[in-house]
Subunit: 425 residues, 2 copies
Amino acid sequence: MEVELKEMLDELESLKGSLPDPPNASIDKLQLHIKRLTDLAKSAPVRRSKLKDMSAEVVDSNPYSRLMALQRMGIVENYERIREYSVAIVGIGGVGSVAAEMLTRCGIGRLLLYDYDKVELANMNRLFFRPEQVGMTKTDAAVQTLQDINPDVVLESYTLNITTVQGFETFMSSLRNKTFRLEKEGSGVDLVLSCVDNYEARMVVNQACNELNQTWMESGVSEDAVSGHIQLLIPGETACFACAPPLVVASGVDERTLKREGVCAASLPTTMGVVAGLLVQNTLKFLLKFGHVSPYLGYNSLKDYFPTMEMRPNPQCSNGACLERQKEYLLAKPARDAAKAKMEAETLSAAEGPLHADNEWNISVVDNSEIDVKAAASSDTLPVGLTRELPSADEYPKLPATGPADMSVDDLEELKKQLEALNAD
Amino acid sequence: MEVELKEMLDELESLKGSLPDPPNASIDKLQLHIKRLTDLAKSAPVRRSKLKDMSAEVVDSNPYSRLMALQRMGIVENYERIREYSVAIVGIGGVGSVAAEMLTRCGIGRLLLYDYDKVELANMNRLFFRPEQVGMTKTDAAVQTLQDINPDVVLESYTLNITTVQGFETFMSSLRNKTFRLEKEGSGVDLVLSCVDNYEARMVVNQACNELNQTWMESGVSEDAVSGHIQLLIPGETACFACAPPLVVASGVDERTLKREGVCAASLPTTMGVVAGLLVQNTLKFLLKFGHVSPYLGYNSLKDYFPTMEMRPNPQCSNGACLERQKEYLLAKPARDAAKAKMEAETLSAAEGPLHADNEWNISVVDNSEIDVKAAASSDTLPVGLTRELPSADEYPKLPATGPADMSVDDLEELKKQLEALNAD
């Protein structure tokens, strides 16, 4: 625009020179118009430049001062490590877009965004997208907004449907790509956030993460818009999405199918904002190692009730990759136990007895190690209001009595056959 | 811009006519430049036009379809009533700006926004404001964004500090203004949301709402950015902000003072987004009459723990307007009880006995009226982890034994003297 205006001014100058009787009033007026347009163009948004380091300096111009303050407050040990991390967000809708904005404003290193849909006016009842973006793909619109907010974040946008064969392949190879941090172990990302709105896509994310041994978090909002949840899934260690599948699933019904019949799911910016906030807060706790990462957290907005629970993997899971991860996790148990015992011994010897056995305030440290053990042992009991849809492992009499720790590959094959036989009934 | 370009084109045309030897190549080139600039201007964002009604029609172009679906889902009886309501938001920072955006996207009738501060790059770690808005007042920047998102919302922006004498007067008169809905009882707004970041401003909102007998919700986020809360305050019925003041308050210390010393509070878009979401969700429940409005809801993000509690007004409150509201509330008790008894009787006669006393599924309705009574009676017991900072009413032996219901104005004067004497110790 400014180039265009500059060229016009030059052209006008040469026109003035070529005229027989300068000065000409029309030319003066045109020059004035161009000057006003140039001013208008100059007042347009100026982007901030990239910042090499995250400074803790408390000045109005520092976009990171309030985040680096988390270190001084003793919440996070090294906030700047966030720049090393890559997070993939699948589904850039009411939850995914807000999660992407939060991570961008927190200064995450790299964001991978996946969606195949376009922005519609019907999305305007949720945060993030603006009416002027209607018609753009959600990934393009998100990149446009996010790179203006924080140019320090590396944004990768994938406009594709992960439930197609081609889409799944691109999804997998993008997760495997390690060019952002070559020395990183495992896949190329540190966490996958599932923010999709249907069962099929969740099963695809589950498959990908089980295959890649990739920790991920699942999120969801109910069709009546008033409840939601987040869940942490660590392949082999926690239940995968197929370990306890919902018993009733609308087959092949997604938002598009519903719309054809003149029906759509309700949604609210509040519920989706809360779920995105809880999701990214747990993402920050997971990446920056502070607080307790919730294995499962529900949100019932009508009662402001937040149920929690833990789910261990199902040895009868229908997902083959999940069974492999379970086996690896169990095989690594002795090594894990040894490492844990060593750490506990070191902690104990470092703190031989209480620091101040006797003090004037009569403060004493309560030993709660026994409580912890009990809590861990009862982690498979469900909170009030939840019932188990699948039988527990104890109800399969043909299982090896010693449990899955001693399972060989043959046992697993046998199990799969049993499960298939059960499913065929 | 388009006007400017149109005028240029006309000017160029008249110049062309005034020249001795048309056609002139320079003029053709200038016309081409103007045409290109016009195309550029046309491709700029187009705002959506105002909508007279909230339609439930399920089409991509309807910004209200997902909200109106709340009616079909049985959550809300009449969603469109939201257009009749006015909400005032004091403090357009990390919580207030997001609350404003959520209410705007929900199609609230009218929003009143109060703030005196300007947007800075240091605010970019929270949602809503964009780097290009740095230097604008928060109220102007908010109006700019919100009217683009939803032109149906009536936005009123007040760039003022409510803690100054002049600011407080404008604040009060704006809350009293009823031109938006003349028939409305009480003040001109339906709810005030306090989203400020300091004690002084909270006390001012408290004073205004006690004087106006205005229901409001308070919100806050801790200085270490990892916890927050929301609280419902109904003058006379619940504790006001002065009924149970924090015992330790940093005197005169706000963000500006702190910054001078090179120290600032930490903040996170996650915690603030969750608090804003919980605040506006409870606002929707309050205005549209669904679900349970939480009297107090905390958010401890390190543990994902959400404490709740209820606080009744303090008969020794230092706020005179609060004591007046308490007196009015107690005086109106017989009328409230009669209305309640009448409603219960009607409900009982309408449902004479269970609908299906006997059914093949052996489903029976449990009478939980006794449980409700117990829960209400114990509403002043605090949850685990909370301690009372002020003595309870029982610990004041000089109080009339029958409680505040029988207090006269003289009793209240006497009480105030007692309290002042206590404070002077």
